[in-house]
Amino acid sequence: MIKPTKTYSLSGTQEKSKLRRFFQKDLTQYIVFAIPMIFLAIFLLYPMASTLIRAFMAPTDDFSYSHFSLAGFKEFFTSNLYRKSLLNSFIVSLSVTGLCILIGVPMGYIVARVKIPGKKLILSLGILPIIMPSFVGAFTWIILLGRNGVIRYFLSHFLHINIPQIQGMFGMIFCMALTYYPFVFQLSYGAFASANSLLEESAMLMGARRGRIMRTITFPLILPSLGAAALLVFVRAIGNFGIPAVIGGSNYVLPTLIYFEFNGFMDINGASSIAVVNVAITAFVLWLQKYVVSRHEYETISATHTELKQHENKVVQILGFLFCLIVLILSLLPQFTIIIMSFFEKWTGILPEGFTWSNYTRIPRYSSHELFNSFYLSILATLLCAVLGSLVAYITERKKPKGAGLLDLSIMAPFILPGTVVSIALLSAFSGNSILRLTGTYTIIVISYMIRRTPYVYRSVAASLTQLNPSLEEASTIAGASWFYTFRRVSVPLIMPAIISGSILTLTTLLQELSTTILLYSGKTRTVPIQIYNAVQNGKLGQASALSVILLVVVFVIIYAMNHRKGGDMSSSFKM
């Protein structure tokens, strides 16, 4: 370190030149940057603060400082329903995380390290469950294993085996595990496949056996990615609304309890208390993961990449392949089931009954408004997300302002917030006697979508910007271009692929959004997923299936088109 040999105080003339310097600066960028900041302040920070305050107010939907009370939290100790929901949430998310690891890690290892056919197909089929709406999976499992379920019927009538029906705790855990295992599978596959084979080879040369290498080299090195994947599953599981709502029966979890509290009692303050508890658990787990992982983070010393050795043992190959096959069949069964179901009136025995086109032909009449809403809201929100996410990513990566860490945190926070919590936050800020009343409007849904999905674009663009050498932009400045010219001609074209892939992800997940919309929709703003959910609740499975098939096809076509265009893998976009 070099200490200044003398002090260089700013004299009066230099103060003046500082002022001049400020006015000579290009002010466009400050104006452009102010917009996302204001948006985040009004629609993210303010609602979150409002929720936190309401959580400490007596159960009503009024916002009044005179009603300070801990009643909302007391319920967790006094009410049986609250206590049970909290317990259920814990059981479900922990079991789902455990199950996903048990399914995903071996599958990742098999696909990366065992010589089996169809690896590419397994990888791309293995991503489908997280692309598809999760509540659709839940209601198809009711068709298969519910009270009058097809498989259950088959077993009891022909083999005289009675299995319990799926609705309840087991159903939730089962469905969520089959929905979320791809996170663990894809991330551990990535870790196993990209591990430096020289590390394992050198251990082998030093005399270590396969089991020992696995225990001492391979596994410790993938631990950080495994931790990230487990966290992702936990956060999703504890925030999932659709699966517990459809298949949970009388078992409530926190997100459904929020819905119950709000929809049943119009009690925003009570719902806020539950939301705060829900977020607190998520935040604690997030902190725990960071704490554990940060002590086990290794810098991979990269060397020339060599081909990884693959298992060629016949038994390992066959067992491995069968394992992957069973997991894929189980996780894709819902997709097949709804396609069949969508052409029939009912399906309660072995075979579906009453072939009909009417599930589809009815759509234009009964669902055209919902279809319009879904597309209109999703596309509009996606476009806005793309702009907001890219700008914020650009600011935090390139301008590195003083509060960059805080900005990063606040834009990423909704990524771990359950959808119902975001809705409650927006409702608590913009309903009732609030200055800006947005309940029942398109606007509030678009805003909730933006708040929830901007992290996708943000992460995608931020990652691409870190890889982009700043000298590309400096070269443009040197050549005489203003900030805006550089941004338009150099930065944006170079980050465009990242913007597009982030936006596609946003669009496809928004088309099937349920947990936020369910608290915010009105008759005017009903979307397709809401209609599917209501149809399931009313037992109209044929209608629900046909609408789900439409959603599936749209989502699948979008994803397929993008993957075809850029040939990348989707799983990376889901990482935190």
């Binding site: 200490k3 000579q24 590309l472 070269a475 040197i478 050549a479 005489g480 271009a481 170079l494």
Partner: protein, 374 residues
Amino acid sequence: MSKSVTYQNVNKIYDEKGKNPVHALKDVSFTIEPGELFCLVGPSGCGKTTLLRATAGLETISSGKMFYGDVDISTIPPYRRNIGMVFQSFALYPHMTIFENVAYGLRVRKVPKDIVKKKVTEVMELVGLQEELKRNPSPTALSGGQQQRVAIARALVYDPDVLLLDEPLANLDAKLRRYMRAEIRRIQKQTNITTIFVTHDQEEAMAVGDRLAVLRKGVVEQIGTSDDLYSSPQNAFVSNFIGKMNFYNGSLVSVTDEFAEAKVDTTEITVRVPRSRVHLEDPSKGDIVLIGGRPEQLYISKEKSNNSIRGTVKIIQHLGSFVRYEIEMPPEISKINFEIDMDSLQKDVKEGDEIEVYMKEDKISLFSPDGREL
């Protein structure tokens, strides 16, 4: 056309108000003449890149002034300075063709289309890429040397007042580097644009630059032509950075107006050095000094005499036109091994042998012992 560049007491302090202020540039003051090809050279962390980026306006300076010609540009933003810059990574735009890359600065300046075309064609001819321009591929399809030429063309096309090159050859392989060195010099002489060239490689700096400034820890140690710096370095650091210098520990025994006489520690060997090669502030009898001789200013022999010091041959390297002997000296004379270049291989001298080391007295210089380390 071409302008001079003047630095006046330029200081740059990173994290000025923080806990660990780093003084990256200290009172830098000098002038680069119009049309000159000027090298900034020094070890990593010496401040050369900071100075270049400050010249471009990509870094602000903490105090002092910078001028292009007579114009104070200290507070002018980079995009209004009319400069060209070539980056170490070339920073070519992968989403544009090479034509569009080169035309970029002209498009920014809203130059009419036909003139853009003419200008780009001219500058591509200057850098020797007229054939590539006809195919007009994306820069990613070009070799490293061709990308380098595109980067230079892009910086030159709008006739900048000053051209800045930031380690432009660092990404090229050794052979190409030597070739591009000459190319850059040719292009610079042809355009006559005042050019600042940053490098950490002293050989490259000496080969390319009309004049060089050697920087260390934010301080300009010496400015001069390659020959000035090599034959009369002002201090021990410069002498050992521009070329190699072997140092004997010693002390002054007498000082006159014309000569200074120094004695090598623990021996009776003395050297008489003319005052022009005595780089000491206010020399007086008894001062501790470093007696410096370049590899070619020393020689080895099997014969012992009063004027020789015994050392051990550690490594012999045959380097073509000369042979380099690395000699371990007695620790009280030098803790660092000497490098001595001989015109030809010495018969009967093997690695591990003891050998006598002599000075060619007429070339020896005296330096102050502080700041000897690189």
